[in-house]
Amino acid sequence: MPEINYINALAAATAEEMRRDPTVIVMGEDLRLSVYGASAGLVEEFGEDRVIDTPLSENGFFGAALGASLCGLRPIVETVTSFFWVGMDQMISQAAKMRYMFGGQATLPVVFRARMFYARGAAAHHSDRNYNIFMSTPGLKVICPTNPYDAKGLMKSAVRSNDVCLIFEDGIASSSRGEVPDDPDFLVPFGVANTLRTGGDCTIVGIAGGVDHAMKAADQLAIEGIECEVIDPRTLVPLDEVAILESVERTGRLVVVDPAHTTCSAASEIAAIVARKGFWSLQAPIITVASAQVNIPYSPALEPLVYPTPDKVIAAVREVMG
């Protein structure tokens, strides 16, 4: 298998799906010149009709993608998490609700790819990690690939899905490299967690960029003789509750690592699920290691303090180990 990076995995998935299905198009700002890398070469191969540079009008073009999907196109929209706010009405009132509201008549095969910036001074306006908000809204699929393999396989599944899929691309993960199949029908299914490491002492669920911290922490803890099981849910909707609950049954302990803000986070949701359905397995409190409940500051002296780190994960695991 060739080794490629995360962005190129997404680019490859896009190009393959566009080749396979002429109704797949891409829409977004400055795509044709591939400002952000994932649309490189598309306009040359597929032409201007299928690679659409939009004006700065997120609410408008998010909605246009949805409307187009009702009439035979399968748009892939590129954006940034923070710009979802601008187009939020279309994301919630239409993308998430239309199918149900219309009794199943509306089928919306749209993918929204949203980049999440991280560290390096993006500051409050460009640092949202808002997948929890879309988890909270019924009707959307929420996908957080954390390595090139999943990025490609989940992206291709999303393009083939008939539901609105949101792909959150974590800034940390997006620099990762890895082996990625080039079989044009390679897919990673939704709702199947990936257990990256097994261990009997503590379960660590990592979300998005949290997976990397979880793995680093687990490696470190293993040296001390604490064996962690690290789970990457890969998709938050649908969520593989079973994998998490079974792991907690084995380990009796749970730490959830999530780079998003802590309150009402995906991490809190997983904690709540386990506090209900896995309660009798628990031997210790559940700890969520998430971002502090402050806006993301710019200063390099402050920003790193906000996020989870391997050290914070290690401290949490030690705490639950008692």
Binding site: G63, S69, C71, L73, S93, Q94, Y100, G103, A106
Partner: protein, 326 residues
């Protein structure tokens, strides 16, 4: 140019259907049989009917909260609409949408929207699909004078114009958004005055006259189908009833004078169309009566049908959320 005689008859039939549908809705609402909010279209029938008469079956429409007229005008079946209002399984949306969310995809109705202006980008996207897929359907979206102030309209008109999409932006200017006069919400005299800001044609037309609306929209449709891009059509009309059933408080407040309402009601779109047909020898009095009676009967049937339709089963609650998982 006048539509041909059968088309003129059909327009009258659909206007009657809408009128009687709405009268029935008001009746069953006050009897407590219908509980949700519902926004009567009475007085504005010529707009939806005139506009949809210029469309084909495969053309798409999208609408708003004042939502019963558009689907009926587009040929959606009134049984499905009425059953939807009663929350029954045979409703357009299996009872899940209700009054503000009527949709019948089988005849090109992409759905009404309770969020004001929210379907304007959706309809724009339908136009984008037509263009990219090289199909010759067009897309028409109904929105109010109030809605025209939403950013969604600006963004949509700009995109549609840039990309020369086959979209008709149809503003139903009934002169008020709930209690707010468009003179206090739109900073120009006419909504259509904004068309030049997007490089598209804009026309203001008498929305009480279905034939006039039909003519203007036909031009816009021809333009759209020819690949020349979108148009903005503003139909001046008037809502004869309250803003919404179930929002009783508004009945009591006097945001429109009695004289103004009385004056406006003199120009009933059904009367105007009937008169035009009689005058042009397009229909006889008897034919007109016949159309009215048939429409009345159809609505009565629809109500009967809706009443007899069962409520959805509890399992339905979890159905239709996602396409992939059945």
């Amino acid at each position: 140019m006048l539509p041909d005689n059968p088309a003129m008859h059909e327009m009258y039939r659909r206007m009657c259907l809408i009128r009687y549908f709405e009268e029935t809705v008001i009746e069953i609402h006050s009897a407590g049989e219908l509980i949700g909010p519902a926004h009567p279209y009475i007085g504005e029938e010529a707009v939806a009917v005139g506009a949809c008469a210029a469309l084909r079956n495969e053309d798409r429409i999208a609408g708003n909260h004042r939502s019963h007229g558009h689907p009926i005008a587009k040929g959606g079946n009134v049984k499905g609409a009425m059953a939807e209002l009663l929350g029954k399984v045979d409703g357009f949306c299996k009872g899940k949408g209700g009054s503000m969310h009527l949709a019948d995809f089988s005849v090109g109705i992409l759905g009404e929207s309770g969020i004001v202006a929210s379907s304007v980008p959706i309809a724009t996207g339908a136009g984008l699909a037509a263009k990219v897929l090289k199909k010759d359907f067009v897309s028409l979206v109904f929105f109010g004078d109030g809605a025209s102030n939403q950013g969604a309209c600006h963004e949509s008109m700009n995109m549609a114009s840039l990309w020369k999409l086959p979209v008709i932006f149809l503003c139903e200017n009934n002169q008020y958004a709930i209690t707010t006069s468009y003179k206090n919400s739109v900073s120009v005299d006419n909504v259509a005055d904004r068309a030049p800001a997007y490089g598209m044609p804009g026309v203001t037309v008498d929305g009480q006259d279905a034939v006039a609306v039909h003519e203007v929209v036909s031009h816009a449709v021809a333009r759209a189908r020819a690949g020349d891009g979108p148009s903005l059509v503003e139909c001046m009309t008037y809502r004869f009833e309250d803003h919404s059933l179930g929002l009783d408080r508004i009945r009591k407040v006097a945001y429109r004078s009695d004289e103004e309402v009385a004056e406006a009601m003199k120009r009933d779109p059904l009367d105007i169309h009937r008169a035009a047909m009689l005058k042009g020898d397009i229909a006889t009095e008897a034919e007109c009566d016949e159309i009215e009676n048939a429409a009345r009967a159809e609505i009565a049937d629809a109500l009967e049908f809706a009443r007899n339709s069962p409520y959805p089963e509890p399992e339905a609650l979890f159905e239709d959320m996602y396409a992939d998982d059945g």
